[in-house]
């Protein structure tokens, strides 16, 4: 496959890629620290994954195999659209199989299958600042990160416990990276947080509108914030997948009628299909 000759390889011009690549390298060298970058207007709107797209475009080479998921699925409209964008502008091979991909761009999920050393996971990030809901001023949060002063967040979580008896954050659950930087894992469900810890793959995060890039290198400690007497607990719907029978994956709830009928199915469609195929083969 070749790329559309009307565009530079992977759309971005070379000087933009260079600037983004430098930001990515510094982000990897300072795990969890948000590096500002000169984010460009992309031909897709802010909020549609422009940060992830710019990171992917800067990392991608002709031999890569790209997978794009949104909500865990390859077939959601925005995932389809982003995959088509890179097929057109970079001519790269794409796949829906997690195991075959070298770069996986994602919105809101980490694949169920354990990622490997040969892979890069690129997250689309809406709000990179984990403290944003507690302190919206960037000038101030930057200072707090510099001093590793995360008291605000601990107070917030503690108030949750006082009020609800447990930490009432179910997604975008804040993590400490290598015990230094507080980081937003992007709006993945807290269920996915443990997968970030010591992951063999490189994790890159791009926030286009907020103009920040950050990273977690492979084999890096990522700890979900908690308290000794109130340990972190990931939430998932207490059901089995209707399609593959899985009892340990993250599930979507699907309404099947207007009388309260609902079923639960895997959010990670590739993983689910793999399990269904295995089940069929076994029968």
């Amino acid at each position: 496959m070749t790329h559309d000759p009307g565009y530079n390889f992977a759309y971005l011009d070379e000087s933009t890629k260079r600037m983004i690549r430098r930001a990515i390298l510094k982000a990897v060298a300072i795990p969890g620290h948000q590096v500002p970058f000169g984010s460009r207007e992309m031909p897709l709107p802010y909020g549609w994954g422009t940060g992830g797209i710019q990171v992917t475009a800067s990392v991608l080479g002709p031999r890569d195999v790209l997978k794009v998921i949104d909500q865990g699925s390859d077939d959601t409209t925005n995932a389809v659209s982003i995959r088509a964008f890179f097929r057109r502008t970079a001519g790269v091979a794409t796949t829906e199989r997690t195991a075959e991909a070298t770069i996986i761009q994602t919105r809101h999920r980490i694949p169920e299958r354990r990622l490997t050393e040969g892979q890069i996971l690129v997250y689309q990030v809406p709000i990179p600042e984990p403290l944003a809901r507690l302190e919206p001023r960037i000038a101030e949060t930057r200072r707090l990160h510099a001093m590793a002063d995360y008291g605000l967040m601990h107070v917030k979580l503690y108030e949750d416990i006082a009020k609800h008896g447990h930490i009432a954050t179910s997604y975008s659950y804040p993590v400490m990276v290598n015990e230094r930087y507080l980081m937003s894992p992007s709006p993945i469900p807290a269920f996915d947080n443990p997968k970030m810890h010591m992951m063999p793959a490189l994790q890159l995060f791009g926030a286009g509108r907020e103009k920040r890039i950050y990273a977690v290198p492979p084999y890096t400690a990522v700890r979900s914030l908690d308290f000794e007497d109130h340990p972190f607990r990931p939430i998932r719907a207490p059901h089995r997948c209707e399609l593959c029978g899985s009892g340990d994956t993250y599930l979507d709830e699907v309404l099947v009628d207007d009388k309260g009928g609902r079923i639960f199915v895997c959010s990670d469609t590739d993983h689910c299909q793999e399990r269904q195929a295995m089940r069929e083969a076994a029968e």
Binding site: E14, L25, K26, V28, P36, V59, G61, V216, P218, Y219
Partner: protein, 190 residues
């Protein structure tokens, strides 16, 4: 036109830059693991293939450079990247084996990403023996043998690392091979 500009840069500027960057990214993500870079077909004297490839891939008019490789290499880099020369303490990229880690820009507590990248040309790199590296990017420990760094490098490294998140990231180059030492990595002598 000055001397260095007669020589070409990367054979394929778009794809070679991408491949060189990916090698540096891989090196920075997995400290101490050796990566190979695509190298330019011809080089001015005073600069090795890997160091040249790193600069061609990453430097531009926004990155002041300190180069101790001589006027021809300087002109060549300037021609192909647009990067201007700067004193070591102000440079984003430093290719100067005399430059001390502690003399370079370590960034600030709020903007540690401004910390410089030091490109060090060494005699040889090999894995499996030598320094013991540990930290983010390394599952337990990783061994890297480096020949040809100046005396006192490890003491400087420990002092530089103590400033984290401020600090300097190092790319070691030998021939067309590199290994990286991001600022937070702990190094013990082997």
């Amino acid at each position: 036109m000055s001397a260095g500009t007669a020589l070409a840069g990367f054979a394929d500027p778009v794809l070679d830059s991408q491949a060189a960057f990916r090698a540096v990214l891989e090196a920075m993500s997995r400290p101490g693991r050796i990566q190979r870079l695509p190298v330019p077909p011809e080089l001015p004297p005073g600069i090795g293939p890997a160091a040249a490839a790193v600069l061609l891939a990453l430097a531009d008019a926004d990155t002041p450079i300190r180069l101790a490789a001589g006027a021809e290499a300087q002109a060549w880099i300037r021609f192909h990247t647009g990067a201007r020369a700067a004193p070591a303490a102000e440079a984003a990229f430093v290719l100067d084996s005399d430059a001390g880690l502690l003399d370079l820009d370590p960034g600030t507590e709020e903007e540690p990403e401004r910390g410089a990248t030091l490109i060090l040309e060494v005699e040889s790199l090999s894995e499996g023996s030598g320094w013991r590296l540990s930290g983010p990017g390394i599952q337990a420990t990783h061994r890297l043998a480096v020949a040809g760094v100046r005396d006192g490098f490890l003491a400087d490294w420990a002092a530089s690392r103590a400033r984290f998140p401020r600090g300097v990231d190092v790319i070691l180059c030998a021939g067309d091979r590199i290994a990286a030492l991001p600022r937070g990595i702990a190094i013990e002598e082997g």
